[in-house]
Subunit: 330 residues, 2 copies
């Protein structure tokens, strides 16, 4: 008779998926009280964690378990990209309803393993619990050359403001996904970006290593919210040109612009560059294409601690944070 | 008019509690994409995380928010103690219902700050979310001299088995607390141990540094479950004498023994010692009293991969894991 999975069984099951990925940086993987990690000399350790909760961050009837597995790790790793670091390992905290400990868990682990391999971030340990909804928390440990981390706080008046990729695409994908029947299928690029975001590790690392970015943040909640955070941390303001912010394709202009300013989940990098470095940035970008990832100049940093949006007709208005906020809604 | 707390406000509120505790090991505390941590040379980093969920690990109508704050960190730090390490910093992931973002949160942060100070483990970062129940996840980062960590897997046949303190006390405390009306009051030692467990960092560190413990684990789910894990990891078995396991005081003999074997939440250290080292252990223990913490010899490690319990009358029976398991219940 098949026994109901107990905690040891669950941990063993997770371990089987990740066994081959245990690399030398970990003295010891899952299964002990804690994991051991050997830091490299001259590096700083980067620490970050992220909730991924059913009902808040994903819907069980819409998001395939495999995409949940991919995304929970990818979005946490994006914080490492935003510091200019490299991910090394992660801790998985997983709480599940009883009935999901078989097929759903397998699919989830398949997606998580795929992300773990693609992002070179190995499972180091974790914790399991039972809950009536799926609760996920991912803690990622990364590393960066000492003194090279790109912080949010380094932007200075006069710096120029750049963003990678297109903003609002993931939210456009979410909207389409909500209109599909049943579990989502990645039938276009926007839905794919919502389900399987790819943190820009190479770009972040390159910007940090070459000291090109004076400040950097990943756009996870939306440009209007995350730019405000960067400005707050740096004690500055910013002005951005609405027409310069690259939005999703295939939408009416006004709607595309709204999503570009406030849409969340894109995990693009928003960074500031001192004017003297812009030519170097441009040159290097054309040389190494960063896999064709477009980098757009969207505005500049100002002394006055406000974020202003310049509309097409030249009028500037205050841009209030309108991105995703779990405690406020939209 | 008072605005409803948004995410930035919540993070700022948490930051205020922990500001003074930002120490030099952290290049940077909360408020960036991730935290930076400068590892000491010659050390390994220890990583661990723990769920602390309303309904599973605590009850909102029984456990004071201040005790929830203390305990969520203390129990996660206990995993560092069980490796023989020192805690350095932690990440707090907190999901709350709207109505708890004021008074409950303040009480919670007060307890958490108290634990953070007592355990010398500073807040490095975290994540917040909204949920209809309180969800807590704590990731702790510690350090240990390279090669000195006490693993679960080092026990060898012939090693003697020791445990610190008394087992089953915290569960006895929980039982009394359930019978109190309203929020728990720590009116005796057992309830206090359940609400405010103290990880045995000094003992763990001392055992590891002096290479006295061949294997070590903290008793979080119950002796029967955690001893089985230690044996499994070491590929050995064990025999323990029921009468030698120190149980809670103030209970009928049979009940005290049941709690001592299967009661969870004590965070005592269970460790094995090679016979040649036992005299050294005894001597040192009387010299440095480890604050009067009793250490009891409870059994020995065997080659046969079974855990046997010797009863008073000399009969040995198999001891099955009967401690707390979120996926099985008791």
């Amino acid at each position: 008779m098949k026994q109901r999975e107990d905690e040891n069984g669950l941990v063993a099951r997770i371990g089987r998926y990740f066994k081959s990925a245990q690399v030398q940086s970990l003295g010891l993987g899952i299964g002990d009280d804690a994991a051991l990690f050997q830091p490299l000399r001259g590096r700083q350790t980067i620490l970050t964690c992220d909730w991924f909760l059913e009902g808040s961050h994903f819907l069980r009837d819409k998001h395939p378990a495999e995409a949940v597995g991919w995304k929970c790790l990818a979005r946490a790793v994006s914080d490492i990209a935003a510091m200019g670091g490299e991910p090394r390992c992660f801790l998985l905290s997983l709480a599940l309803p009883d009935q999901l400990t078989q097929k759903w868990l397998d699919e989830f682990l398949r997606g998580l393993k795929r992300a773990s391999t693609a992002l070179r971030c190995v499972l180091a340990g974790g914790d399991t619990a039972r809950h009536d909804k799926v609760l996920i928390n991912i803690a990622v440990i990364g590393e960066v050359q000492k003194g090279h981390a790109a912080l949010r706080s380094g932007a200075r008046p006069g710096d120029l403001l750049f963003v990678s990729g297109r903003l609002g695409e993931a939210e456009f994908g979410l909207r389409q996904l909500r209109n599909q029947r049943g579990l989502a299928r990645a039938t276009n690029a926007a839905i794919r970006k919502h389900l399987y975001p790819e943190p820009h590790l190479a770009l972040g690392r390159w910007l940090a290593r070459n000291r090109l970015a004076s400040a950097m943040i990943d756009v996870s909640d939306g440009l209007s919210s995350d730019l405000a955070r960067l400005c707050e941390a740096s004690g500055v303001g910013a002005v951005i040109a609405e027409s310069a912010v690259p939005g999703p394709e295939g939408l009416p202009e006004a709607e595309a612009r709204r999503l570009a300013l406030h849409g969340g989940d894109d995990y693009e990098l928003l960074f500031t560059v001192h004017p003297s470095q812009v030519r170097r940035l441009r040159k290097s970008l054309t040389r190494k294409s960063h896999r064709g990832l477009p980098i757009s100049l969207v505005g500049a940093i100002t002394k006055k601690r406000k974020v202003l949006l310049v509309k097409d007709e030249g009028v500037a208005e205050v841009l209030s944070p309108g991105g995703w906020d779990p405690f406020r809604g939209r």
